[in-house]
Structure formats: structure tokens, C-alpha cells
């Protein structure tokens, strides 16, 4: 049996780039390709096509011996389709457009800045299949890029509430729920745990709520519709006293 000469022996003068056909046949027989059933080919290709088509679904694919393989898809295109349906349902005349008026942050051009504007930007940022650049008008903080800071800016502008509880924000199941929760928090005027944070001025409290709202919006935008269980932890916040 040969020793290992790796570290001390010179390189072979000729590379061993071919082997006798008998040995090649022996290796091929010993390491044969397993037979792949056509049904497995189809399952693999269908799963890929579904993903590439951007479908948001849960598909169960049966392996060769009935073992379940679960596929969780959170395709951005399908999530955007869900959001688009919701947007049309609630605001049929305000598709996402570059704002034509002078209101910075009014992404959908409805004349006001609210959490739906933040959501539209967050949704676009989360859409990894997007190739077209985002409108320059969405760069509301004028730093040269459209990014999460613009979502934060819009969320901050959208949240004009006084002392308010933020626990409801984490319970928002979609962006419209979030918008309603923000309104209800303001209307009830609840004392917020934020108010108990040391050194917080009124402005700081507003930013905290806006931060939570922004986080909630981004979390919803990154998913297939904003289910409660997948909101980011940052948005769950503290319980109102």
C-alpha cells in the first residue's frame, strides 16, 4: 500500500488524466446513477416553475416514497398582487404613482401622507425581482437613494399622535389594520409606556411610535400579506400600562 506523498513527493511528470477502460467500467458499475422516476422529474420541475412564476403558495410535494416535502413560498410578486388587490379595494382611484403635488411622502398621490405611503415604498424595496429604478420623488429625505430611511421618514410623517400605546401596532395583521390601529391609538389617547422612558420628549415618543410603525410596515411588506406571527420583534414593543 502506498504512503501518502503529498507534502514531499514531486508532482507526477504526466498527469494521470486517463484511466484504463476496464477501470472506468468498474467504477461506473460501482457508482451507477440511480434511476430517477419521471414523476420526480415532474415534481422538481413543477416546483421550480411555480417559484419562478412568483406564486405565493404552500405546495406539498411527495417524494418518491411518500415523504412530504413542504415548500413555503413568499413570492414578492404574489405578495404585491395581494397588496394591489387590497389597495384597489379600499382606494380604487389611487394606484401607486409618483406624486405630482408638492406633498413629500405622498407616494400614492391621494393628497395626504399616511402609513399606506410608507407601505408602498417598503413593498417596492422588498420586491427583489424589481429591476426598474424607484422614482426619485420617493427619495423623501433627499440622500440620493430610496431605502428604508425613506420608509422611516414617511412613517414618521404619517404618525402624528400624542401619548399613545404602541402595543396595538404589533397586532396588526395587514397594512390597513395597522393604519386603523394607529388611528385608534390616537383617538383613545392612551398613555404609552414610551412616555415612561427616561428623557423622552414629546418628539422622541412620536419617533418611537413611528419607528415601530415603520418596522411593522417593513415586516408586512417583506411577507406575503402580513401575518401576525411573522412581524419583526422590534415592532412587538412593550405592553401599554
Amino acid at each position: 500500500m502506498s504512503r501518502s506523498f503529498e507534502s514531499s513527493s514531486p508532482l507526477p511528470s504526466e498527469p494521470d488524466d486517463a484511466i484504463p477502460s476496464k477501470l472506468a467500467d468498474g467504477l461506473a458499475e460501482l457508482y451507477a446513477v440511480p434511476r430517477v422516476p419521471p414523476s420526480l422529474d415532474s415534481a422538481i420541475l413543477n416546483a421550480a416553475r411555480a417559484h419562478l412564476a412568483g406564486q405565493v403558495h404552500r405546495r406539498t410535494v411527495f417524494s418518491r416514497h411518500g415523504r412530504l416535502l413542504r415548500w413555503a413560498g413568499a413570492g414578492a410578486a404574489a405578495a404585491a398582487a395581494v397588496a394591489a388587490v387590497l389597495l384597489v379595494t379600499i382606494r380604487p382611484h389611487t394606484p401607486p404613482v409618483t406624486p405630482r403635488n408638492a406633498i413629500a411622502g405622498d407616494i400614492n398621490g391621494d393628497g395626504r401622507v399616511d402609513i399606506l405611503d410608507a407601505y408602498l415604498v417598503a413593498r417596492a424595496l422588498a420586491d427583489k425581482s424589481r429591476t426598474a429604478p424607484l422614482p426619485a420623488a420617493w427619495d423623501v429625505n433627499h440622500d440620493g437613494v430610496v431605502d428604508q430611511k425613506d420608509v422611516d421618514w414617511i412613517a414618521n410623517a404619517a404618525v402624528r399622535v400624542g401619548p399613545a400605546g404602541n402595543s396595538k401596532l404589533a397586532e396588526s395583521t395587514d397594512v390597513f389594520d395597522l393604519a386603523e390601529n394607529l388611528k385608534s391609538i390616537g383617538a383613545r389617547g392612551e398613555r404609552s409606556k414610551l412616555a415612561l422612558l427616561p428623557g423622552n420628549a414629546h418628539g422622541a415618543r412620536t419617533v418611537d411610535v413611528a419607528t415601530d410603525a415603520s418596522h411593522a410596515v417593513s415586516g408586512l411588506a417583506a411577507t406575503s400579506g402580513g401575518h401576525r406571527t411573522i412581524l419583526p420583534d422590534a415592532a412587538k414593543g412593550a405592553e401599554a400600562p
Binding site: S2, D16, P20, L23, Y31, P34, A48, L52, R64, L69
Partner: protein, 184 residues
């Protein structure tokens, strides 16, 4: 049914996939299906697990799109994926059957080929090779990897690849059980 051989290169297929062309995935799949399944069988030692690894490997691949950038050969990209999934499958199977010794072997690399079947002597001599020598030999002459691809996936110098192949073949040539394979 496999489609006719696609003339596009791997890079062109990746670009087409990023552009949303599902036929490009079909082409990639059939191009690498046998190689992946054979590699998976070698690592898992079990046909059922190998086919599951095949499925999981290509699921991993399609989830990379759109936006995937092929920065190396497709074989270099696929190899660690297949190996990782295969070893995980083997460990799971070994845990289920409580075979601790085999679990250690699974962690070390490939499963032993069927030593009781055909080509028993060849199998036995191969099993006696150092793991790294055997892997390089099989990557070259069973899986068809180029020397450069082997160097890339094993993260070793090209010279080491050549040296290991040379030493593995020298062992096979010298062993009386496998000397006949080298007879003209």
C-alpha cells in the same frame, strides 16, 4: 421526458432564468440531474435518500432565482450543496437506526459502496484508500470533474489534486486485487 439538449451555456441559462425563462431551469436540471443524483447516492449510500437530496438540491437552486450570480462552474456550486444535504440525510438515517459507528463514518464523508455485490475487490481497495484520495479519484473519473473544479470544491491546490489522483491510481495498480484493471 428530457428535452433535447440545450445549446446554451450554464451562464446563459442562469441569465435566462434570472429573466424568468422556466425552460432554462429544465435545461439546467437535466444537464446536472444524473451527476447530482450519483453524487448524492455516493454520499448517502441509500437510493431513497439520494433522490430526496436530488429534489432538495434543485429546490435550493430554484430558490436562488431571480438574482442568482454564477461566480464559478455549476459543478463547483452544486457540489457542497449536495454534500451537505447528503450528509444531513445520512446522519438523520443513522440516528433513526441508532448506528453510531456508521454515524461517525457519515461525518467523515462518503458511504461505502456495496462491498458484497459486484466489483467487490475494487470496492474493497477503494475503501482502503485515504478518504481524500478516494474522493478526488471519484470526482475525476466517476463524476467527471475537471482537475480545476476538484481543486475548487475541495479547496486544495491543483498540484495536490494531481498528487492524490496519482497516488490513488498507484495504489490500485499495485494491489493484486485490482491490478488486472490496468492490464491491456
Amino acid at each position: 421526458m428530457p428535452p433535447p439538449t440545450d445549446p446554451r451555456s450554464d451562464a446563459e441559462l442562469v441569465e435566462a432564468l434570472n429573466g424568468g425563462d422556466p425552460s432554462a431551469f429544465d435545461a439546467l436540471y437535466y444537464r446536472y440531474r444524473d451527476r447530482v443524483s450519483r453524487l448524492a447516492l455516493r454520499f448517502t449510500g441509500n437510493e431513497q435518500d439520494a433522490l430526496d437530496v436530488l429534489q432538495e438540491t434543485f429546490a435550493y437552486v430554484h430558490r436562488k432565482f431571480p438574482g442568482f450570480r454564477l461566480t464559478s462552474a455549476m459543478t463547483t456550486f452544486l457540489y457542497p450543496v449536495v454534500k451537505h444535504l447528503s450528509l444531513a440525510a445520512r446522519r438523520k438515517r443513522m440516528r433513526m437506526f441508532g448506528d453510531d459507528l456508521a454515524l461517525d463514518s457519515a461525518a467523515a464523508g462518503e458511504a461505502a459502496p456495496d462491498s458484497a455485490g459486484v466489483r467487490a475487490e475494487l470496492s474493497a481497495v477503494l475503501a482502503g484508500l485515504p478518504l481524500t484520495h478516494r474522493e478526488v479519484l471519484l470526482l475525476r473519473f466517476v463524476d467527471g470533474f475537471s482537475l480545476e473544479e476538484i481543486a475548487a470544491v475541495m479547496k486544495i491546490p491543483l498540484g495536490t489534486v494531481k498528487s492524490r489522483i496519482h497516488n490513488a491510481l498507484a495504489t490500485l495498480r499495485a494491489d493484486p486485487r485490482t491490478r488486472a484493471y490496468f492490464d491491456p
